[in-house]
Point group: D2
Chain length 265, copies 4
């Protein structure tokens, strides 16, 4: 039976303990609600608004932590890469390589990712028309790797604001599976001086909307104490809300799936 | 038990017969699916892109047809007004006065509408931030008329394109009930030379998204032969698809309602 | 010899004295710098964000003041109309009827304005693609009135923000003369709670840009004490800066005119 | 005496001969009109919409050609880098390293570029608020390299369209010199199936607008036969129009400079 995929974890690999706390909680709830779970954490926050912000505990140390987390939890891992030289090394640890939104047109990065043979998850650029993501998918597929999905996370609606155009979901599903990124869709780029802000209060609304529209999976960053998370705190879902959140999400996803074949021409 | 409102009918009062054909079909399906039905038709298409387009069969004749349709079907009526002098006259026939999106800041029109004591339905301007619709509501309420609702129909995302920002639904529901306009949300302003185009194929997706997000009602234009409709054909739902459409819509609306109190802070 | 037109005055007809103070100063400077001057003031602020804001001293009284100002200064007058019934009455006083941006698609208003035989100045809607303004012009021309010009005042770039797309100037000049509205182009719609804000500091930059791009005239609201102006204060040019401003503007306009025929194909 | 900088050349290093043809012509005209000339060509088109498009003749060969062109013409060179490993190698040939717009938030790339000690030219992302470019500049400066400038090339105005917000020029000049990119500002991203389109016909208008607004330099791609250029053809200036174009540009730039200190507060 088909299941939605859930990519979830903290934003960054803050420490082994925090990764395990988050991963074990989310894994349990994902299973209970019928999601296929993939643990997510970034080994490097490579495009922070300002260079004064936390970037991570280092690539080697982060990958080591990720690998331990994956083994202990028995779940696949997703993490993002930023330059093509990272693809092969990260692919030794991660099962899914994520291409950041700003980088979705970097041909070398897409090719290097594709060549690893791992699953590739490309985020839609905040500046890309939905139909143009076809070309990003094609770049990966040109390496012989057919295992590629897209992620919706909002388009620039003026300065310091993103809008999720729900039309992008069916448009992009014409050429690849689509994941809805609940966390970054409520981000406010650069909206807080030297860092990005967020509107976590809109997350349940956009999550229901995307699920009912129809998607193949979800991406959610979560933390036991979002206010203390080292990045993306303002748009994260608190860990203790994940059980209810996932239950709601699954129910709405079933609705979207039920009507997937409903077409008006 | 609370029911969602359904505002639906042809775009314009083309003729008594077509109004009755549409109205009787939609009424039956609305009742079957638990919607509160309000028949909609415009007596004048006052802001067509180009002056060569069909505007209507005249205000007096249209209002007369509307009144007969309302009486025969036993349903309330909604129609839009464009200048303040029309408010009192139209209020003798219509139960709900609709303020067009371009006119949502025209103080005289809002006040004249409010003073009729009828229910007032204000469409969000394609240029208005959701929270600024508070002021339009306040203008109507300043007349002592508390019976006012808002309608979402998309915001300008560049030229010839509208995007529905689902965040606008919970934002506007903080100060008034909100109707989702399925038909105009998939309009492409001026996108076809001298008239507006549309993307009817996205209607079911946006409809499910808005319903699951949470709204108080829906607006749908429908026609037995959209290609022959005298306006808005490209974004209308064909009449023979309304039964299935309404069933899907109601189910998604129940979902939005079930989770209406789900908040993340 | 061809001259640029300058539409300028206070935002609203606050009083005869203030109109004369502003009009006489601007007239002198306009003449000195080679502009064709048209005195501007609104008799009604019909679309204020909030109904608590100042709307004017009344239509009759305002028109009377306007007429006296025009006579005393010996200059033509421009003022805006909001509903079609106002066209004929206002045309007895004003030489140019201005159609507000939100109303640029209201067919009745455009036709009523056109039928007066006066010059018609249509502001581009914040939601209209530049090329679609052709249809607004055509509506006026359908009355036999060829004396119509357009005005650029910014397009919605997300919420609470407008952007001037300088490409709109040559695009719209293909079918009508174009005026650049320096004051409303730096408006921030609804950006200050219940009223619109403004960024007067950008006015000289956008003014130079539009003048060098090439336009047929300018629109500037000015006031001896912008902070005390009854509307649009934050985006007005202080009256004592008008002499320098107009000199700069004329020089840049000459530049735009010099290169008007410079085309790349 | 202060001179505007002109970054100009073909889009890509197509061949030594074409680079010399373009470079020698532009150099002569730049000198005649009082620009400081920097030859531009990309060694790799790393973010083409589609992977089927021309990417270049290879990094090593391109850098060798660039170096010969610089030496023969006696002019400095600018070229862009896409991943941090390229910074040091490219810095051996180029005098200015350009950071592509999509990459303007990649911390590693900015730091690697800054550490070379070369001049760094950062293009504003199509998704970045002008004031947020401060952080990109600060990242470069954190390496001790103060020689950094910014480039304006348009912001996403909906899908397949960019708008130049002239307000960004004075905003960004508060923290770094600003170059106006005439060629990419008239690009239409992804607007032609698998490649980007362009509107070269708007180039002279936007060029005059930006020059009169006030900038420190210009970026222009040119080619003897734009229709045969291996990328960006639709938005290039034909080489035989450069003499007139540069003369116009310089005159408008003088205007912007004359009024640089004109402020309204």
């Amino acid at each position: 039976k088909e299941k939605p995929v859930l990519f979830s974890g903290p934003c960054a690999v803050e420490s082994f303990d925090i990764c395990m706390e988050i991963g074990s909680t989310v894994k349990k709830e994902a299973e209970k609600n019928g999601f296929s779970y993939v643990f997510k954490a970034s080994f490097d926050k490579a495009n922070r608004t300002s260079s004064g912000s936390f970037r991570g505990i280092g690539m080697d140390k982060s990958l080591e932590v990720l690998q331990r987390v994956g083994k202990e939890l028995g779940v696949p891992l997703v993490t993002d890469i930023h330059e093509s030289y990272q693809a092969a090394e990260v692919a030794e640890v991660a099962d899914v390589l994520q291409i950041p939104a700003f980088l979705c047109r970097q041909t070398d990065l897409l090719l290097a990712a594709g060549k690893t043979g791992k699953a590739i998850k490309i985020k839609r650029g905040q500046f890309m028309a939905p139909e143009d993501m076809q070309y990003a998918v094609d770049k990966v597929r040109s390496t012989g790797n057919e295992n590629v999905c897209l992620t919706e996370r909002g388009f620039s609606l003026g300065y310091h604001n993103l809008v999720v155009d729900m039309r992008s979901l069916p448009t992009m599903r014409q050429f690849a599976p689509v994941v809805f990124d609940i966390t970054h869709s409520v981000q406010q780029p650069g909206g807080q001086g030297g860092s990005s802000g967020g509107q976590r209060e809109f997350a349940p609304f956009l999550a229901r909307a995307a699920a009912a529209t129809g998607v193949d999976g979800f991406f959610i960053e979560t933390h036991p104490e979002p206010a203390k998370a080292l990045s993306d705190g303002p748009n994260m879902i608190p860990l203790n809300r994940m059980p209810d959140f996932l239950q709601m999400l699954k129910e709405c996803w079933e609705m979207g799936r039920k009507y997937a074949a409903f077409k008006i021409e």
